[in-house]
């Protein structure tokens, strides 16, 4: 049975009439044309589809659309304030914290959540917080440096 599901998406009201148990990931990528959220494993194992739900990191492949009814969803497309990149996006670009770039949106969203909760996160906090986000190119060192630079700025 279709339902009407309303939520806030990247700062704007969104309204969909759809089956409530459909995965958030494919609704974002399909119906809503937000392809920055990536599919990587479909089981919450890789973090490529990480978005923010009410400000907290969530794996879009494990969420159904009804799970976000009445909530606020932020995807990588909604992270920057207009032309102004989010500090974590800026840090990823400046630190060359990406190669193929496929894990990057999920990695950034996970880091944003981590720093929101713990603005002056230590290296151990960052490693712990990102450990279930996979990167195959081996950009880990740069990602760590990028996130660390944001954490240092906010603790300074």
């Amino acid at each position: 049975m279709k339902q009407i599901i309303e939520f806030t998406l990247n700062g704007k009201a969104a309204r969909l009439e759809t089956e409530p148990d459909r995965p958030l990931l494919w609704i974002l990528r399909g119906e809503l044309a937000l392809t920055g959220t990536k599919y990587g494993c479909g089981e919450g194992l890789c973090g490529a589809c990480t978005v923010l739900v009410d400000g907290q990191a969530a794996r879009a492949c494990l969420y159904s659309i009804s799970d976000v009814a009445g909530k606020t969803v932020t995807t990588i497309e909604g992270l920057a304030a207009g032309e102004q990149l989010h500090p974590v996006q800026q840090a990823f670009a400046e630190h060359d914290a990406l190669q193929c770039g496929y894990c990057t949106p999920g990695m950034i969203m996970a880091a944003v959540d981590l720093l929101n909760r713990n603005p002056s996160a230590s290296d151990a906090d960052i490693i712990g917080g990102l450990d279930n986000n996979l990167c195959r190119c081996g950009a880990h060192k740069r990602i760590l440096e990028a996130v660390r630079s944001v954490a240092r700025n906010s603790s300074a």
Binding site: G30, G36, Y39, G40, C46, L85, L98, Q99, G128
Partner: protein, 716 residues
């Protein structure tokens, strides 16, 4: 030149029939320079007519009437950073800002033929030709400027795309003004010399990735991000095992779902829907029964199986007389080294979108070989070259695994069947199932030391890995290296599933065996493993990287104790020489190995983008931790047992060591490969450090806690 380069193995595409005249018509105006990375043809410069009909060029650049420079190449960007380093080369040769250069990559309509992106060829082979083309274009522009300004060539200078008279800087004209209304085509000749390092302004300087902004904002487009009107998403029916045959199929429940289409085209069965998740749901309703052949071997018994049908050996290198070497030897060392099947596992699974319009098939695909895919499509669809176009958006990692492009063929067949655009986007399980794995392989080494501790002989056989990197770099008077299978394909019946090139193919396996065996000999000779290598290798690049690594690392002989240890390994790949040192900690009770620190020194000749080269080294080191410690595909016959990341363990942040890299200020003016070399030593350097830490040798990759523990238990 590597005699066994992966291009021999990765279904090389053949050049198309697009001729030069046709090509130039498509290019339009401006100054165009055609160049080739194939053996160079001798072309009369600027010959008006007749033009050669064969494509004697496989890339070109154009300086447009707006002064912008566009480089068209069949190479693709999959994370290795050539989208940044190639423009750096051009910027220096043309004297323009990097920001004035655009790259058009991997589009078979707009780019001339190229075999594919692999083997660390882009910078070391393509790079010099690109620079030559830049120099040629610059010379053409200078000639035009000389005419316009009535100034002799030797008085002209260029800066930021502006040509001026050295003696009177007010006399100047821009590239844009020079190209306006022109249509000039040139081939690369040897007449225009490229710049030397002293004159580089851009090359040799670090530049942040040019694709960073798109990639951090989610705007970067990958194949699965292509959306076309009316497009259907396909889920492909995957058999339970390789070699299985479909016996019964009932798709009625799936087909009954609203908007679902089912296609059965021979062996290809797919369910399609406008929404991917609905296609997934329909796919789950398909009832299929397969006949699965009985498994005759698995991941434990595979080595026995492989040795039982090993192909004949081919000599790779030999010198002296092995029998004489045996006589000289006071001690003999004989060991067998094994490595498991390893997956490519790029974060982006294979994806493609196919659309047939007016009899013409266009396929957007994540592929390392757009022209190879075009050729497959022509053959499968029975279409001529001008009716097939392949476009390569950003590729989300390849590592050698995206050369086959089967998903592109699937998408095209389905698009033809349903008469609408179709997206095929493999699930992670599909990706593990259809991957062309790094082959399981065996290396057998028999070697000897003289009474005074010098190498006496070296008898080396590698099975199934391939010959690349099998030659040993040491001074050993009597030696022989034999490769049983040159490449990584394996004879029919050897592997239970497809095998193929995996980042630095064969070289990882060969370095793991050789560098550990050298350590065994050094230990038996009572010599520090670094000192042993320095004593018995005379090649300057090897000595250079070993010393540089030792200095950065602070190498101290005999450091190992209390579960901590250090190791060294070196090797050459894609003409680049690396030496790696590592410090590990081994938990004796669990067998868990933690890599604390890795130092790698690399001599890659000319370094175009030091930041990019460093990042590639870091990527190699990090990715190398996986094949060294955790990565292994388990299987039973044709059944793949590890289908997602809960069972197949990639390197993670928590396993990240301190990584330090050193780029040698090389005497070698040529650029060499950078995307692969630093991964080849990772198995051996960790194995050697484990031995230093706890006194056990690990002869099988990956060195899992279970295997380390078993080796420790055996030691007692």
């Amino acid at each position: 030149m590597h005699p066994h380069d992966p291009i021999d193995e990765m279904q090389p595409a053949t050049p198309g029939t697009l001729d030069r005249r046709e090509f130039l018509k498509r290019v339009g105006g401006g100054v165009v320079v055609l160049f080739t990375t194939l053996p160079r043809f001798t072309l009369a410069e600027a010959s008006p007519t007749p033009l050669p009909s064969e494509p004697a060029f496989n890339a070109y650049l154009r300086i447009g009437e707006d002064g912008r420079v566009t480089c068209f190449t069949g190479k693709i960007e999959m994370g290795q950073g050539v989208i940044t380093s190639l423009p750096q080369m051009l910027a220096d040769e043309l004297d323009v800002a990097v920001g004035m250069i655009d790259m058009v990559m991997g589009d078979t309509d707009r780019c001339p033929f190229d075999r594919g992106t692999w083997g660390s060829l882009t910078t070391r082979v393509f790079g010099p030709e690109l620079r030559a083309a830049g120099a040629q274009a610059r010379r053409v522009l200078l000639e035009l400027a000389g005419e316009q300004l009535s100034v002799p060539l030797e008085r002209l200078e260029v800066a930021e795309g502006m040509v001026f008279d050295r003696t009177d800087r007010t006399r100047a004209i821009s590239y844009a003004a020079l190209t306006k209304g022109r249509a000039i085509a040139r081939d690369v000749t040897t007449a225009a010399p490229t710049k030397t390092a002293a004159n580089f302004k851009v090359m040799g300087n670090s530049l942040t990735r040019r694709d960073a902004l798109e990639k951090v904002t989610g705007q970067a487009e990958y194949a699965a991000d292509i959306r076309l009107p009316g497009m259907l998403h396909a889920r492909i029916l995957r058999p339970p095992a390789h070699g299985a045959t479909l016996e019964q199929l009932d798709t009625s429940a799936a087909a009954a779902m609203d908007g679902v289409r089912v296609v059965q085209d021979g062996d290809l069965v797919a369910v399609l829907h406008q929404q991917r998740d609905v296609a997934d749901r329909a796919h789950a309703l398909v009832q299929a029964k397969y006949a699965v052949p009985k498994a005759t071997f698995d991941d434990r018994t595979v080595y026995e199986h492989l040795m039982g049908m090993a192909p004949q050996g081919d000599p790779v290198a030999a010198g002296g007389d092995l029998a004489k070497g045996e006589q000289l030897a006071a001690q003999v060392f004989e060991e067998t080294y094994l490595n498991a099947y390893v997956a490519h596992a790029p974060m982006e699974p294979h994806a493609a979108v196919a659309s047939m319009e007016d009899g013409r098939m266009t396929v957007w695909a994540s592929t390392q070989s757009p022209f190879g895919l075009r050729e497959q499509l022509m053959s499968v669809l029975g279409l001529p070259e001008d009716k097939v176009r392949v476009i390569t958006p950003f590729v989300g990692g390849g590592f050698g695994g995206k050369g086959r492009s089967g998903q592109g063929v699937q998408a095209a067949r389905l698009a033809r069947s349903v008469g609408r655009p179709v997206q095929v986007f493999w699930t992670r399980e599909d990706e593990f199932f259809w991957d062309a794995y790094r082959p399981a392989a065996i290396v057998k080494i028999r070697s000897g030391l003289t009474a005074d501790g010098a190498p006496a002989f070296w008898d080396y056989r590698v099975y199934y890995a391939g010959a690349r990197g099998s030659e040993q770099p040491y001074e050993i008077p009597h030696h022989r290296t034999v490769a049983h299978s040159r490449g990584w394909g394996g004879p029919p019946g050897s592997h239970p599933f497809a095998t193929g090139a995996w980042r630095a193919p064969a070289a990882n396996t060969n370095a793991f065996a050789r560098e550990q065996h050298i350590d065994i000999m050094a230990h038996a000779a009572g010599i520090d493993p670094l000192a042993f290598r320095l004593q018995h290798c005379t090649q300057a690049k090897f000595l250079g990287v070993l010393k540089a690594a030792a200095e950065q690392f602070g190498w101290k002989p005999g450091a190992g104790s209390g579960g901590q240890g250090v190791g060294v390994a070196c090797g050459i790949d894609a003409d680049t020489v690396v030496a790696t040192m590592a410090e590990v900690e081994v938990d004796r009770s669990s067998g868990q190995v933690s890599v604390k620190r890795v130092v790698c020194a690399q001599d890659m000749g000319l370094v175009v983008n030091p930041a990019g080269a460093t990042i590639q080294m870091e990527g190699c080191i990090t990715m190398g931790l996986g094949y060294a410690l955790t990565e292994e595909q388990h299987f039973r016959g044709g059944e793949i047992l590890d289908l997602n990341f809960d069972r197949y363990e990639l390197p993670r942040f928590s396993g990240l060591p301190e990584i330090e890299t050193v780029l040698i200020d090389s005497q070698d003016p040529e650029p060499h490969g950078g995307g692969e070399p630093a991964i080849i030593t990772m198995g051996a350097v960790i194995a050697n450090a484990i031995f230093d830490a706890v006194g056990v040798r690990l002869f099988e990759l990956p060195m899992t806690p279970g295997r380390v523990k078993a080796a420790l238990d055996k030691l007692g």
